[in-house]
Amino acid sequence: MRNRGARYLAGILLAVLLLWGSVFPWLSQRGDFQRKQAERNRQGVHLHAMFYTELDVLEKHAALHRLREESPWALWLPWAHASDSPDDAMTD
């Protein structure tokens, strides 16, 4: 029983070595994969992120930051305009 288990284990370890040692490296060295990977790195996307604190992209917030700067109430009041100050927006 234990011998059979050891054989299974050896077989799976061999498969892991083959996959991680040659198949995955071959796939990850392809040009299209490299391009996609570079794009993700540029965007600050980390696939292993289990929680938002592991995502760099959230610190950039370019579009949302710009929107808040231009119109602080745009995310809270549907009728707020770009030129509104918070007080104007409340009384609109």
Binding site: R2, G5, A6, Y8, L9, I12, V16, W20, G21, S22, F24, P25, W26, L27, S28, Q29, G31, F33, Q34, K36, Q37, E39, R40, Q43, V45, H46, L47, H48, A49, M50, F51, Y52, T53, E54, L55, V57, L58, E59, K60, H61, A62, A63, L64, L67, E70, S71, A74, L75, W76, P78, H81, A82
Partner: protein, 509 residues
Amino acid sequence: MKNEDSPKLQSSADILQPDIVVSQPRTLWEDLKVSEDWWAIYVGGFLLLCCFLAVYWQLPGNLDALVAESKAEGKSYKLTSPLKSRFDKPGAWGQTPPPSAEQGAFRWGNPLDAFKSGDRYRVPGIFNVFLVCAVLFGFGQWGRGKSAWAFVKGFWFVFLLALLAYVLSQQAFVSYYNLEYALWALSVGLLISNTLGTPQFVRPALLTEFYIKSGLVLLGAEVLISRLIELGVPGIFVAWVVTPIVLISTYIFGQKVLKMESRSLNMVISADMSVCGVSAAIATAAACRAKKEELSLAIGMSLSFTVIMMVLMPALIKFMGLSPVLGGAWLGGTIDSTGAVAAAGGILGDVALEVAATVKMIQNILIGVTAFGVAVYWVTFVEAGSRAPDVPRPGVSEIWRRFPKFVLGFVGASLVFSWVYLQWDHGPLIVNAVVKDTTGLFRGWFFCLAFVSIGLDTNFRELARYLRGGKPLLLYVCGQSLNLVLTLCMAWLMFEVVFKEMTSRLLGK
């Protein structure tokens, strides 16, 4: 002592156990001394305090000037924890293009690359993590009246398997498809336990619940309530209104229609599908005392569907012709894993990525409320409701006795760090340095150790038992379908109808 007649009288220390064990009532003082929940709070709290003080004591005296200077240059100042270089985990590997990409020269994968970052070696940092974990959990075992030495003798083995899981998950191609460490940690554990069998000397180090609860206390510091408002009203409606509706509906559907045998499995699947995947599954499983196999199953399903949705949903959004803002909000509200949400959003462009990641972040924060709510519901209604009719409903003291106390540490950490983030000068800089440079890393290691322990303690046959009849799968599919429909409707209403002008501006129109 097992008691099959009153299985719901278990203590919070017995969560995630395959067997239901009845605990003897303990006084508060005894509980504070030996309960795993309290020790998880001590371990997590101690680490949080140390990491916080390390940053606080090293704050530059001229921080205001440095921040102003960076702002003037159009950059944002980044504070770094002095402990950052002391602790580490295996890094990404297999990302380097072949030396001559044009000729397509092939390079074998070298896992040792995971232990190097530029000229720096990660091994000392990983060894430091091992030492800290061995000392903290060993001390915890000693404090709980168990053998610290027996723990340490087995811990190195568990840690090595966790290290292997990290290395496997960090390969570029594997990482690209979001096959994260939780999956590999479970797999390596299952592989050992179902082939050679888990060695006896390792068993004292299989402290699944202790690792999970301590990790959750650390996670509490990342649940910053103030970040809830980052996407205003639309974000709150998409993430905080739809998500609880889906969670509760799916749970009721599982109980009333599918008639799931295990309420805890039903709850864990409902939470991981509706809130945020693995982290929500861990928190809910601990709060509702799910069994190890139930947590493994829920995580396996969540990760499988995440990969499918991450690939299919951006294509579907393009096919339907949805705007990047609406598409991003839909992705953020439906795909389980945070990393996969960002990846799928990135396919649709930078604005979609930003909206998707922000919706997911707001949903992530819901994890604290979910864990607390599930814990209260479980001890008050589920356990009380399953008692014999002649046994009176438990009083407040009984509910308190059964309440999983680590949730207090989780919520407490969230409140304290939210306060620092919001109220202190440069609070966001301080909290980010603490969380991103140190406690987040330890939280990852603790969860990885927990998943290895689950794998080492699980039999394939036990796991297969839960899949019989296909109810868990059906529950997930039905719940996710409801989630997809409701989230799309709410996102459309918020971003395309009520806040249409805001959406136009985000899209630069």
